[in-house]
Subunit: 663 residues, 2 copies
């Protein structure tokens, strides 16, 4: 077994020890109830020493493993403990102020789900539906979000659906939403009230009526009525007979000049650490930091549909067990995650991260038309993938390392739309009718990726370059066709506006290292697609809680434990305690140890084609070397040729000479 | 042999007949000199009848094959003829006004290249360089572009480079640009003058000096000094043991519910015709229409660097012979193109279009967290690819059809930067130093894709939807979180502004066909990335010649032969005779037969990493069904599973259960 590394995924025995130490610190009567346990990154200062020693093969300093535990005591007191599991003692334990709500544990949510449906008052409401024989009711527990500054109770709301009478566990209840929504207190499971949902043009609601039967739009192959034999899909096999080009030892990955570590995270899904390419340091840490999903339907209680999928529940603890040949094609290496139950007992989340190589077409090509000689190389990528299921939605996160020094951070949204009831012959301006009496409201997905750069070292600067026309001038620009770049520096912690029409690009540079060819500082470009940011009013809770969602690019001075864009505790939060505080306009960020936060937003106006299960919507952020190397860093790739790639002609296609790329 | 179809690629015997008929129409003394010959699309009106008959299995009407011929007579008279090669007569032949310059024939360009270097006045200039033994001079002929409204001669300018003394034909002359640029008259090969190129901060030039030796930055594996064995790249094989899922007969492709035709084009590379998905008509014709590449260096003669890569020379006639296992991986079907020589004799451009299937990750997924059952399907794509070499640059065009009804039009720019000399210790604000004494000027690539829609028929409308916040209102929007879409209709031929911050999306809809689920018109979305458009002054020749480059989306009323965004003849054009005339603000385009023109622009600020050969820059336009189907059209895909996909675990990775997607 490989010795544990400070960046390694938390181990089960570490979780067990931490939870035991915490439980032992309270009387049994306190009923310690855990909701999340994971490792804490070591202070960067000590990690830098550690990594330097490691690189130079020296003895590495002892760095204790520290875990955080979120847990409730006496049912409703929310606490956080930091536990040193190397020596085995609690560093601190703090009870958080009333009103701070921790992330919900998936196991608790499922228990509450059952409790809700079985509650007499909910049963009474269900009875009014007079459901046909065999039909039943299923609910999705939902984060309660925030609409009242005085609300201190941890709450959970439930959206109710009819489960069709086909007796199939995979029947699509999202196709049959109901018009009432019970609210309970979390943990105590105390009934609070039932909210009624509008079905018409406006906010008007009506008492629960007998349910009018409509067809259920099914997605499962057993139920959707599709004939899959009508499509001719022949196998397309991806194989690596000589094995993959990567090597993985513990959390350490080596591939094509890249070296980094991958670790699973209860909250973030996975984290990439200590990234080098061709022997040069480029990033210290890369991870998804937060995601908020605000909905645009203004009618109560829909105004409270604003999830924070990392802070409210956790991306890693909701990670899928990935399937060979299903979620991942080729030669696959899997990593596991670690979940817990409320007693603090760990369990494995198997195969929740997959890693593999893939071909992504042509990387570079040139043909000398004089000789017809071609040089051509293929773009090979190394993919780190995880998929989280957050109730109805699925998110696929791919971080792809390419042979030319690029990193592509790809998000794919799929799964099932969050649906609402809508009456016959009604249209609403904030949603699309996606099935009989079912509407999918417009919403936004706004993700924040935390990028902790180390471009040739830790002292970095963020600049942004606009491309602007030169004024016409009889001598300097007589034909009015000249244009130049205009560079600006981010001096203080804050954000940078988007400006696609000046081709604004954001770069992380190291002003202390000059590229000998271009005579400019070395850097990496951060390419973020220009997007609409959060639409809600500036003074709405949606925005107060998610400042990160108001701008595309943020720069802060590095601080240990400033990891989460909307703050550490987002569940029913009143305000953003993350970038809202850290991007303070005061901290110097030029030629400092900085963190860049990239906001990837997409406004989702549902299509009928997105139902009953949604084809992926794909969005990308690119990190690209920019005057970092002294020439194309992929020149050392072997030339593409068919002795190596063994491609074939379709039968009956006359063969012709392959590309000449050697003389 | 399959009977010829009106959309089929021109046949060699058709070219031979057309050129013979034209030559026979002139006295031998006229020296008919051809520069381009290809087929003309039949009038849409007759094609619609033809295609309807074809679809219903009726006898198709006789449609004559018509070819256009561009040719010079008496050396400098430029003519166009339309020839009916079915019956074998010339329909029209016209001599074009002086000043109209046709596309240059690759064969002519290479002849002029040699003529230039060998010309005594150029040799005299070369002599002043006092090149070291073994070194020689190589030139790239360049389109002359436009800076003078009175210039009527067809001209060609030459950029001169040193060819290093290594005796290797693939040595990278672009690394060693010289400071003089001869200009000749085309066809007559008459010497006009030598322009001198600035090497300093400004437009100042100096007489040719002895060449100062600097290292050549080489790209070819024989020369670049890289050790390709240092990278461990194991084979990644893509195979289809049961053959591909597509069938191709003549120009007709059938795959996964898609049906369309692919034909090669001398000017456009390839054209996609008559596109159906799942039995419904979606597009009549899709092709790249034009591309202009204006440079930002304001100094003479660089202000004349504005190529029109389709109109000035032709994308298809500069198409690469694609290599199995080099340009295309998997099971490949190739199509040939047809080029000509100046006598009108056709030749095959072999394998210039490749077609194959590929996997593009997850298409959709959902996991029911209650049962842990997953549904997951993979995104299979069918790719039509061509690659053109335009002197230094390469462009890779991929049109990818996906199983969910999406079409992704992908452009990859690679090849070698167009370089200019720069003196030691000089920096300029409009270029990047990419090697010793070599500078790559900032430039733009602005492509126009012509999309002729037929969304459930030919009467279509373009709309654009903005997402806007609802005003806060005590009853209608009490929490200030509501947002809705605001739809506008394009009524008259013209353009639509970009507006990313209102999430503006462009849709082609059919107002006569209502989606029964959403109760809204069926449509396809055209997704174009928000980009900086052409930077040059409104009244510069660069803009006058390329109006299409000023806006991202254009809509015109359909007219036969309105195919090219900047007009039919772009070489040394004075003004845009394409969209500049057709987008007239007058023609009705609502619920009419319309054409949509999508401008894909990217401003290229070269990186050192882009030299000596550039890793691809990739840009995409998406066409996506939008409330066109009544649900996800890919539900009939078989579920992904490893019996089918045969993926493998990395050796030593403990196996765990695959995804359960059947109960």
């Amino acid at each position: 077994m490989v010795a544990i590394h400070p960046f390694d995924t938390v181990r089960d025995y570490e979780v067990r020890l931490a939870s035991k130490l915490v439980k032992d610190a309270y009387p049994a009567s306190a009923n310690v109830h855990f909701v999340q346990i994971d490792k804490v990154d070591p202070p960067k200062k000590s990690m830098i020493k550690y990594l330097e020693a490691e690189k130079s093969g020296l003895k590495v300093p002892e760095i204790p493993r520290v875990l955080y535990c979120y847990y409730y005591t006496n049912t409703l007191d929310f606490n956080k403990a930091l536990v040193n599991v190397t020596v085995g003692h609690i560093i601190t334990k703090t009870q958080l102020p009333k009103g701070v709500v921790g992330p919900f544990l998936p196991e608790d949510m499922m228990e509450w789900e059952e409790h809700c449906t079985n509650h007499p008052l909910v049963q009474a409401e269900i009875a009014k539906l007079k459901l046909p024989k065999g039909y039943s009711v299923r609910n999705d527990p939902w984060i309660y979000a925030t609409d009242n500054a005085n609300e201190r109770r941890p709450l959970v709301q439930f959206f109710m659906y009819v489960l069709a009478g086909n007796g199939h566990s995979e029947s699509n209840h999202y196709s049959l939403p109901l018009k009432f929504s019970p609210v309970f207190e979390a943990f105590t499971k105390k009934f609070i009230r039932i909210d009624y949902l509008p079905g018409g043009y406006d906010e008007t609601t009506v008492p629960t009526q007998p349910w009018q039967e409509v067809p259920c739009v099914e997605y499962h192959p057993d139920l959707n009525g599709e004939d899959t034999t009508s499509r001719i899909v022949k196998p397309l096999l991806i194989s690596q007979p000589e094995g993959p080009s990567f090597s993985i030892e513990g959390s350490k990955v080596k591939w094509q000049g890249w070296e980094f570590r991958v670790s699973s995270s209860a909250r973030e899904g996975f984290v990439i650490y200590d990234v080098y390419f061709k022997g040069r340091q480029v990033f210290y840490r890369i991870a998804l930091s937060e995601m908020t999903v605000p909905y645009g339907d203004p009618r109560a209680p829909y105004h409270r549909k604003q999830a924070f999928d990392l802070g409210d529940c956790g991306f890693g603890v909701n990670g899928n067990q990935l399937g060979l040949g299903c979620d991942c094609l080729g030669v696959i290496k899997y990593l596991d995650g670690v979940g817990i139950d409320s007693t603090g007992e760990p369990h494995v989340i198997p195969n929740t991260i997959c890693m593999h190589e893939q071909d992504n077409g042509i990387l570079y090509k040139h043909v000398n038309y004089r000789t017809n000689n071609a040089v051509v190389a293929r773009k090979r990528e190394f993919v780190v993938q995880t998929i989280a299921t957050v109730a109805n939605y699925e998110y696929v996160i791919n971080v792809k390392f390419a042979v030319d020094g690029n990193i592509d951070i790809e998000t794919r949204a799929t799964g099932i739309l969050s649906t609402m009831p809508i009456d016959e012959n009604v249209k609403v301006p904030w949603g699309t009718i996606v099935g009989p009496n079912v509407m999918a409201a417009y919403h936004q997905h706004i993700l924040s990726f935390r990028i902790d750069p180390a471009i040739d070292g830790h002292k970095n600067t963020v600049v942004y370059d606009d491309v602007v026309k030169l004024p016409t001038h009889p001598v300097k620009n007589p034909f009015g066709i000249g244009f130049v770049t205009d560079r600006k520096y981010v001096e203080k912690a804050g954000s940078v506006d988007q400006s696609p029409f000046t081709n604004r690009t954001y770069k992380i540079i190291n002003e202390n290292v000059i590229n000998p060819i271009s005579k400019t500082p070395v850097g990496y470009k951060v390419e973020i697609p220009p997007r609409q940011m959060i639409l809600a009013d500036k003074d709405s809770f949606n925005v107060k809680r998610a400042k990160f969602a108001t701008e595309a690019v943020w720069v802060t001075k590095y601080n240990d434990h400033q990891l989460f864009a909307a703050g550490e505790f987002t569940n029913q939060s009143q305000r953003d305690t993350g970038l809202g505080e850290w991007a303070n306009g005061v901290d110097p960020v030029r030629n400092e140890d900085i963190v860049v936060w990239a906001t990837l937003g997409f406004t989702h106006i549902p299509r009928v084609e997105d139902f009953p299960v949604m084809p992926v919507e794909t969005h990308n952020i690119h990190l690209q070397p920019n005057n970092f190397f002294t020439r194309n860093p992929a020149l050392d790739l072997p030339q593409a040729n068919n002795n190596f790639n063994k491609s074939q002609l379709v039968a009956g296609n006359p063969t012709k000479a392959c590309c000449k790329n050697n003389l």
